[in-house]
Symmetry: C2
Subunit: 166 residues, 2 copies
């Protein structure tokens, strides 16, 4: 189990930002990303869920190479999260029902009965975030230090959360 405070912090950042850019490795070895809406559960245990049509190119990429990165970025708040994980296509109607929101009906008109409705389950193995304090000057400084050097800066945090650790 990861530290509960780390999980809470990660959960809160992901929930606030909401949309991830999910990067996958394509069959020719290049990296592509696309926006995905996080479907957060109330309790975050290190697993993230996304709805997806099961014939999408990204599904084929995940089946070939399950390693993904989820980048949550909010340039206005200077919040940035890198989530490393392993993705699986899940065809589980009970789970889909649990995560379902009428919002998705426009894209899955048959709802839970859509034969192509799938879920992408991402098991998070590592996460890092860049989180800046409120002071504008320090925020910028702390933030850019992380940007340029990747090291912790005065007034900013760059924390790694390793969900593989005990």
């Amino acid at each position: 189990m990861a530290n509960q405070d780390d999980l809470k912090k990660l959960h809160s950042l992901i929930k606030d930002i909401g949309f991830a850019m999910m990067t996958t490795t394509t069959s020719d070895g290049t990296l592509r990303s696309r926006p995905m809406a996080s479907r957060m559960e109330d309790e975050f245990d290190g697993t993230l869920w996304f709805f997806s049509h099961d014939q999408e190119p990204k599904i084929h990429e995940i089946l070939e190479n399950p390693q993904v990165n989820l980048a949550y970025a909010d340039p206005h708040k200077n919040d940035y999260v890198s989530v490393t994980g392993t993705a699986t296509l899940v065809k589980d109607k009970a789970k889909a029902k649990e995560l379902w929101n009428p919002f998705y009906k426009a894209w899955f008109p048959e709802g839970l009965d859509d034969p192509h409705l799938g879920l992408i389950r991402v098991d998070v193995t590592q996460a890092e975030y860049w989180d800046s304090p409120n002071s504008k000057m320090v925020q910028l400084a702390g933030f850019v230090k992380a940007l340029v050097t990747g090291k912790e800066a005065k007034g900013g945090e760059n924390e790694k959360v390793d969900l593989r650790a005990n």
Copy 2:
């Protein structure tokens, strides 16, 4: 050469968002990302530049596997860009001088004379963007369609820009 309108659109989106999450493949095959400030040139010819300390983990990752993804995301504007490219570490003082901004002095106190000052050059091979129109309803619909299915939606665009094409 890519279509000039495509390059202009891509340039404008990247410039507006400003910060990319750069994803690299680590030596154990997992994917990591971190925020990076784009240093845009006035003319965009398909090459993007970033300042970096030359001993950063990402530099080692790039040397092992130069394939990167740059994800530009602005959840408030619903603008999302995926840039696929090949990264190179460039130690070129003349180029660094051309791109230099006093802003970077806090992290490279010796400025252009810092022996560890490096540039990451990304040659863009493909890019995609999700761009929603102004109407709030259509924007959400267009955007989420792209999110869920990756297909073009009414009122939204999901355009691929292939910079390898003639």
